[in-house]
């Protein structure tokens, strides 16, 4: 973030955009030059450094650009006071001597005072002059400089420029792909107010309490601070209203990740955080099982009227999405507020409720069609949850089978995996499997979740037979290769279906040989 006088923008047809420093030989050069200036001035005074920087202004680069880069580099620098004596003590001493000898209005008198003080503290007169104001900002010495790369510096510049523009924003709209918990926490922390709506994804509109009365830039600082948290995600769109104070006009400011993400410094996304050990235990135990359900921590927010809830987890399988919220030790006030919100939720939600909570309050939710509740004691029980999920899935599977049975289904390809078939119709593999088990199409055989036409099977059989008769014996490896060439993965089951025998020698499959049975 920069002082507003360093903000440099394009404005056209009601749109405003920071003048981003795109990677180009000229911008890289400017960045590298400045970095070199800092590197070369380690051990020198800040005023020397700044004089060199000022000289670079207006030499092929706009002064605001140069100054902003310099500001960023200052933040990577350590400036210290180099002095043989504490300058404040020194000044006190000098003023004391001046008090006795009078204000030196002539050069001789001044020299006399300095000499007196110098001898008193056993330093030279030059040391005294040098140390007198050695603690002033401009007199500090560059001690350490953490060197960024040119591209890092430019990315930081672009982020800073965007934030500086947002200082003057009256409203910020965004959509993004994750990090929601942190985003909503920050919105609250910065005293902002949000509204959400669904328009090709969840859009969040940010302003502040006072925005109701008039357009105000008051909340711009909060929006600027929010920006890095939003763009930490890989996908985002930002759409803000900026009140340009010089002309008192409102401009649109729009950027999205596809075009701009590479220009802006992207803060690191925080790793998945669990609010409690209860959640962590649940997640690790659940993930240890192979249920086919995909568990996601902190999924996208769920709208509840004008508000949102960010559930603890989402579970997905076969197009079913169930949100999971763990209701642990909550204060009563929080619980009541949460219940109010949950009443407005329109997606499937499973609440895992600690029994020791005031459960009667939750009974208001039990009748809601979208909400199911499982109570727990101390630890979250996997059994009831798995049974619940299975039941949910069975419901869907049952409907899918009914759908498949109502469709006129015809197969023409020699090989079709169940999964391909399920995807084609848009049902779960489980439903496809169950359907095909009782409705095997004529002319096909089902081998390991794959339909293979009898014709294809005979082709494979002929090839294997030919190979065996040619060389007397066929290694399993060769047979598998032939079957794979025909487009089937599971050679063992195909060989079994064609009544071949595999003779093993030891456990090494390279030594195994395929023989006709009988």
């Amino acid at each position: 973030m920069f002082p507003s006088n360093l903000l440099s923008v394009w404005k056209r047809k009601g749109e405003i955009l920071p003048r981003y420093a795109k990677p180009s030989s000229s911008n890289d050069e400017a960045a590298n030059t400045l970095i070199d200036v800092y590197k070369a001035r380690i051990g020198e005074k800040k005023k020397v450094l700044k004089t060199v920087v000022t000289e670079l202004e207006d030499k092929g680069h706009e002064y605001r650009f140069v100054r902003a880069l310099s500001l960023l580099l200052d933040r990577k620098s350590t400036f210290v006071c180099h002095s043989k004596i504490d300058p404040i003590d020194l000044r006190r001493k000098i003023f004391q001597v001046t008090e006795n000898l009078g204000i030196p209005t002539t050069s001789e008198k001044r020299q006399k005072i300095l000499t007196t003080v110098a001898s008193e503290i056993t330093l030279t007169k030059e040391d005294v002059e040098e140390s007198f104001y050695s603690d002033l900002e401009s007199e500090l010495v560059l001690e350490k400089f953490t060197e960024p790369s040119a591209s890092e510096l430019l990315e930081e510049y672009n982020l800073g420029l965007t934030q500086t523009l947002l200082f003057d924003a009256t409203e910020l709209n965004f959509t993004t792909s994750g990090n929601w918990q942190e985003i909503f926490r920050a919105i609250k922390k910065f005293g902002l107010i949000y509204e959400v709506c669904n328009d090709h994804g969840l859009w969040v509109k940010i302003d502040g309490p006072g925005s109701l009365f008039k357009l105000t830039r008051r909340y711009g600082v909060g929006m600027a601070k929010l920006l890095p948290i939003i763009i930490a995600n890989p996908d985002w769109k930002i759409n803000a209203k900026v009140l340009w104070k010089f002309t008192n006009e409102i401009y649109d400011f729009k950027i999205e990740s596809q075009k701009y993400a590479s220009l802006l410094k992207r803060p690191r996304l925080p790793s998945v955080i669990y609010d409690s050990s209860v959640e962590l235990d649940f997640a690790s135990q659940f993930q240890a099982l192979t249920t086919g359900w995909i568990l996601k921590r902190e999924p996208e927010p769920v709208t509840a009227g004008k508000n949102v809830i960010i559930p603890d987890f989402s579970l997905e399988k076969a197009g079913i999405k169930i949100y999971l919220e763990i209701v642990g030790f909550w204060t009563e006030e929080y619980l009541l507020r949460k219940i109010e919100k949950l009443k407005q939720v329109e997606v499937k939600m499973l609440l895992l409720v600690n029994e020791s909570l005031a459960c009667e309050k939750l009974s208001a939710l039990e009748k809601r069609p979208h909400i199911d509740i499982i109570y727990y004691h101390k630890k979250i029980p996997l059994g009831p949850i798995l049974r619940y999920l299975e039941a949910k899935f069975e419901e869907v599977k049952f409907k899918e089978i009914a759908l498949l049975e109502s469709l006129p289904i015809k197969f023409t390809e020699p090989i079709v995996s169940f999964r391909e078939f399920a995807d084609r119709i848009g049902v779960s593999t489980e439903a496809a499997r169950a359907f095909l088990a009782s409705n095997l199409p004529s002319g096909y055989i089902a081998i390991a979740d794959t339909l293979i036409s009898n014709k294809k099977l005979l082709q494979i059989d002929a090839k294997i037979r030919e190979n065996i008769s040619r060389s007397g014996k066929l290694p399993l490896k060769e047979a598998a290769k032939i079957i794979a060439e025909e487009g089937v993965d599971d050679s063992a089951n195909v060989l079994a279906a064609l009544s071949y025998k595999i003779r093993w020698r030891g456990i090494d499959s390279d030594q195994a040989i395929v023989e006709p049975s009988r």
Partner: protein, 449 residues
């Protein structure tokens, strides 16, 4: 049942009734009301015989005051006027007329939770000390790292702006020191975001060149008492004289000055730009961002000003003046920080700028007060409100030509002391724009020179 509570610098009202002050906020499903309308809303409900559950305020406990504040007649009159305006309004009094004591008396009489808002860190210390000495109260401070709330709390405009959303419902009385600051675009929202029904503004210079002071009437109150510097001078404040000394630039300086100003003027002529007001100048500054020629012109002008302000002949004259007023307390004011340090180094006298560490600043001011340090040089930090004890000579080197600055620098010297005549001496470079600046200043105050 209606319920009213505080939400981030505004009030929320839940219930079936709207008010003339509220606005429906669909985001939260309540009426939202500006915090400063708190008193109006309550009065409206009282008149309409509506019952409201008022949860708006959250006040720190009342502490016991032991006051030793005694007011002078004009101070009493000022306070009475403020009471009559239903505990709202602005008091316009020259520096050193004891504005602080009027506010302290109001706190003592009302016995309410009070937030004092001041422009600088130094003023925080000063108010804190006054509250301790006069009311025997420890003050809370909200500023920088400190964050304590007490019955009487002091904060800066910047901190108040940042924290209004959190603390806006914790006080009954707001005292705005140097209230003209409040009228600026950002700070004005402080007044809107506090529920405090009682408000007092203090200033020596109510009017602002941008006319924004008119906004204060609604949020703090009208000016309820105003006394001129001349009415008080002699009686309560010391009399003063004013002298202007013109010095020539050295030939070398003159040459630089003229060549640089020529660049500036010819640019203005070429572009047919006239600079009559500060707003014109602001517009011109704006264009320098994208127009390299304009920027070059601005830089040339800055160089010229710098030469004129830092002129060697001025420093020589300053040396003479320091000799002449050897036995008096002198304050030297300059426009630029650089010049402060040049003077400090050359004459080995203490300097105060925004960079001076707080402890050292305190020490310097205290030693200046005791007469240990007879001379202090400063840039603009002492302009407002800070107590600098009885300096008798003021030397001004270069100014910004603003009315307020002039009055307050003058005011700084006018500390009541028996038989004292304060002297203000302005040293100006001849034939430079500084003369025009100085003239403009005097036209505004109507002071004869």
């Amino acid at each position: 049942m209606l319920r009213l509570w505080f939400d981030k610098g505004t009030l929320l009202l839940k219930g079936e009734v709207g008010t003339p002050y509220g606005k429906w906020d669909p985001r939260v499903g309540c009426y939202r009301i500006k915090a400063y309308n708190y008193r109006d809303v309550l009065e409206y409900f009282a008149e309409s015989l509506l019952k409201v559950e008022d949860d708006a305020l959250s006040l720190p406990p009342i502490e016991q005051i032991k006051s030793n504040v005694a007011l002078r007649d004009y101070q009493n009159e000022a306070l009475d006027n403020w009471y009559r305006a239903r505990n709202r309004g602005i008091l316009v009094l020259p520096t050193a007329a004891g504005k602080t004591f009027i506010a302290l008396k109001a706190i003592e009489k009302l016995k309410v939770q009070t937030l004092i808002v001041v422009p600088t860190l130094d003023l925080i210390d000063q108010w804190r000390k006054r509250v301790k000495d006069c009311l025997n109260l420890e003050t809370g401070v909200v500023c920088g790292g400190e964050n304590t709330l007490r019955m009487v709390t002091v904060t800066t405009y910047d901190s108040a702006y940042i924290h209004a959303g959190q603390f806006g419902n914790k006080f009954m009385l707001l005292v705005f020191d140097e209230v003209h600051h409040l009228a600026s675009t950002g700070y004005i929202q402080i007044a809107e975001m506090f529920t405090a029904p009682y408000r007092m503004g203090l200033t020596a210079t109510y009017e602002r060149s941008d006319q924004r002071h008119s906004l204060l009437s609604q949020l703090v109150g009208d000016p309820v008492y105003s006394v001129d510097i001349k009415e008080l001078s002699g009686e309560h404040l010391s009399p003063y004289t004013y002298e202007k000394i013109l010095v020539e630039l050295t030939p070398q300086e003159q040459q630089i000055y003229e060549s640089q100003m020529r660049i500036f003027r010819s640019f203005l002529q070429q572009r047919k730009i006239t600079l009559r007001s500060p707003a014109d100048f602001q517009k011109f500054i704006m264009t320098t961002g994208r127009d390299p020629k304009a920027r070059e012109a601005l830089l040339a002008r800055n160089r010229a000003v710098k030469v004129a302000v830092n002129s060697e002949t001025k420093l020589n004259l300053l040396a003479e003046k320091l000799e002449e007023y050897k036995n008096q307390k002198i304050l030297i004011f300059t426009l630029f920080n650089d010049l402060v340090y040049t003077i400090s180094l050359r004459f080995l006298i203490p300097a105060i700028t925004y960079q001076t560490p707080r402890e050292e600043r305190r020490e310097i001011l205290s030693n200046f007060g005791k007469g240990k340090y007879p001379v202090v040089v400063t840039s603009q930090v002492l302009d407002e409100g800070l107590d600098v004890p009885d300096a008798s000579v003021g030397l001004v080197l270069g100014g910004t030509g603003s009315n307020r600055e002039y009055v307050q620098r003058l005011g700084r010297l006018l500390r009541k002391k028996e038989g004292k005549t304060a002297q203000l001496i302005e040293i100006i470079s001849k034939e430079t724009m500084e003369v025009a600046t100085s003239r403009r200043r005097h036209q505004k105050t109507g002071e004869a020179t």
